[in-house]
């Protein structure tokens, strides 16, 4: 498998409604804007608590954009689509720069 341009890691803790919603929101955004260019890895900290340390996870859900650099972190259920797009540098804010 070739390395996708967008490497995204979603940290959750158990299959909570919020975790499910976050994953659905993420998939939907990626399908719309990054089709064929992304991979999503879901890490369930309930199963692998030790993995929380590496990315310094405190809030759940946390989305970490590993690629492309720079590393970006977002917390929340990703319901705010616009902010997620800004966070992923897919669109710029009105007053911001690309």
């Amino acid at each position: 498998m070739k390395t996708a341009k967008y490497n995204l890691v979603l940290y959750v803790a158990g299959a909570t409604p919020r975790a499910v919603a976050a994953l659905e929101n993420l998939k939907s955004i990626c399908e719309e804007h990054l089709k064929g260019e992304y991979t999503i890895t879901v890490i369930d900290l309930v199963k692998n608590p030790k993995l929380a340390k590496g990315d310094q996870i405190v809030a759940i859900p946390t989305l970490v954009r590993k690629l492309p650099p720079p590393l970006k972190r977002m917390i929340g259920d990703l319901a705010d689509r616009e902010k997620v797009l800004v966070g992923l540098n897919l669109i710029s804010t009105k007053q911001g720069v690309v």
Binding site: A13, R18, V58, I75, L78
Partner: protein, 484 residues
């Protein structure tokens, strides 16, 4: 809003305590922190919160067989280990042996974007994993207030904090959370709202160029505790708190007598000397023989094979040994045998509180039957404004309660001032002996008067105190006239 009525129905006849092992703290709290509960330790930056919290875990792991988790929000694992190594706390060794788990949780303000609803389950997962990893009984969160700078959703944060404290309680963990001093509240973000059981406040003040650390138990639900501010030191072995415990008059009163080491004086004291465990005050002007007086008693105690501690504030150990040799007292012999210990600290070296902490520590470690404080006046002169006298009195009282005989010397400049310099401590002294210098013809003579001595028919006459090459002796006043 009416107060929610919570009645767990669980009887709590005796609050279980979790000993901290921190010198003095368990005495103040009558046994330690509330077991299975969370305590808040708060204070300004640099007040010693992290130290107290870590020592709680360190002692727990090394002395009470209770592993601990230290969740640090400020310092990295490596920095913590380095800082505590300087205090002789080998954290790495504890970590290797699974007695301690240190987790640095980095929270950088603005390093993430908030895009929808979230909670802090990640923190719970990490804490849970850490607790399971070492089988922790104790937990420290230092300082959890860092969360407030990292997350914007304060309502969520507060709900999560409440959940966290319940989580700790449900698992029966004895925890310390630390909090930075706030403007109006005890802590910047009002952590005290969540911690109902025990709140400890640390303070670090600099008064007259002398830094003093103090500890106060603000709240301890369901338990008696000392309410004063207790000075503490950060020593080579961690925190040392001077408890000033007012243990009441529970000391067993000893009918046993203790020779003063001066034959004629024993005779004045109803023929048998002091009571063991009593407090003796020896006051007098410069050169009236106070130090020699104390040395005689020390010699007498050591001769009986018991330990004496000499807290010297004006002389060093060699000076004291040399000077006493000149009047025929071989203190060196007792020093060599380990029966006598001289702790020599210049009074101006540190403030009174520190002296008291050091004294308390020395007493606890050496376990003497006699403590000589020479002179007590240097101490009280240094910290009058801060209730120092009261503390001094408490130190004497605490030694008395432990059955330790105490002889304190007090320098009086003029007889007229006696009342003011001694009023603070003379009342708790059982025996008060006054030494003075009198001009008799062409020579100056030393005089001795027993002002009071509880529980015995002592001599009321003023006698002459003689210095000989074989020690002090008591004689009748020579020359004409009847003394004063």
């Amino acid at each position: 809003m009416p107060k929610p009525r919570i009645n767990s129905g669980k009887p709590n006849p005796q609050l279980a305590k979790c000993p901290t092992g921190i010198h003095g703290l368990d005495e103040i709290t009558l046994g330690g922190l509330p077991r299975g509960r969370t305590s808040l330790v708060c204070g300004a930056t640099g007040c010693g919160k992290t130290l107290l919290a870590m020592e709680f875990l360190y002692r727990g792991a090394t002395e009470f067989g209770e592993p601990g988790v230290f969740m640090s929000f400020e310092e990295r694992e490596k920095d913590l280990a380095e800082n505590f190594a300087s205090l002789g706390f080998d954290l790495d060794s504890l970590i290797k042996r699974d007695k301690l788990f240190v987790d640095f949780v980095r929270i950088e303000p603005g390093e993430h974007q908030e895009v929808g609803a979230y909670d802090l389950e990640g923190l719970f997962v990490r804490l849970g994993a850490a607790v399971d990893a070492v089988g922790a009984k104790r937990v420290v969160l230092d300082t959890i207030e860092a969360l407030f700078s990292g997350f914007k959703d304060e309502a969520m944060l507060r709900a999560e904090l409440r959940r966290l404290f319940n989580w700790l309680k449900d698992r029966g963990l004895t925890a310390i959370v630390t909090g930075e001093k706030g403007e109006k509240l005890l802590t910047r973000n009002g952590l005290e709202e969540y911690v109902a059981d025990c709140v400890i406040y640390l303070d670090h003040r600099t008064v007259e160029q002398v830094a003093t650390r103090r500890l106060k138990v603000i709240k301890y639900r369901g338990s008696m505790h000392g309410t004063n501010e207790f000075p503490f030191l950060v020593t080579a072995e961690g925190i040392s708190i001077f408890p000033m415990t007012s243990m009441g008059l529970t000391a067993g009163v000893s009918p046993r007598r203790l020779s003063s080491g001066i034959p004629g004086l024993d005779k004045m004291l109803a023929g048998k000397g002091y009571y063991q465990g009593s407090t003796i005050l020896v006051s007098g002007s410069a050169g009236s023989g106070k130090t020699s007086f104390g040395a005689h008693l020390a010699d007498s105690v050591c001769r009986a094979g018991r330990r004496a501690l000499y807290l010297a504030f004006e002389e060093s150990e060699p000076q004291l040994a040399r000077n006493m040799k000149s009047i025929g007292l071989d203190l060196q012999k007792w020093l060599d045998k380990g029966l006598l210990k001289v702790v020599s600290n210049r009074a101006s070296l540190c403030n009174l509180e520190m002296h008291l902490v050091l004294a308390h520590k020395a007493v606890k470690e050496f376990k003497p039957e006699l403590v000589i404080i020479d002179p007590i006046s240097t101490l009280s002169a240094h910290g009058d404004a801060y209730g120092a006298k009261e503390m001094l009195a408490r130190l004497l009282e605490s030694m008395k309660t432990s059955g330790i005989t105490v002889l304190a010397t007090d320098l009086t400049v003029m007889d007229e001032n006696m009342e003011s310099t001694e009023v603070g401590i003379s009342s708790i002294c059982d025996t008060w002996i006054r030494l003075s210098m009198e001009r008799q013809g062409h020579e100056r003579q030393r005089r001795i008067t027993i002002v009071k001595s509880r529980g015995m028919a002592h001599d009321y006459a003023t006698k002459e105190l003689l210095m000989t090459g074989k020690g002090m002796a008591i004689g009748d006043i020579r020359g004409n006239g009847e003394g004063k």
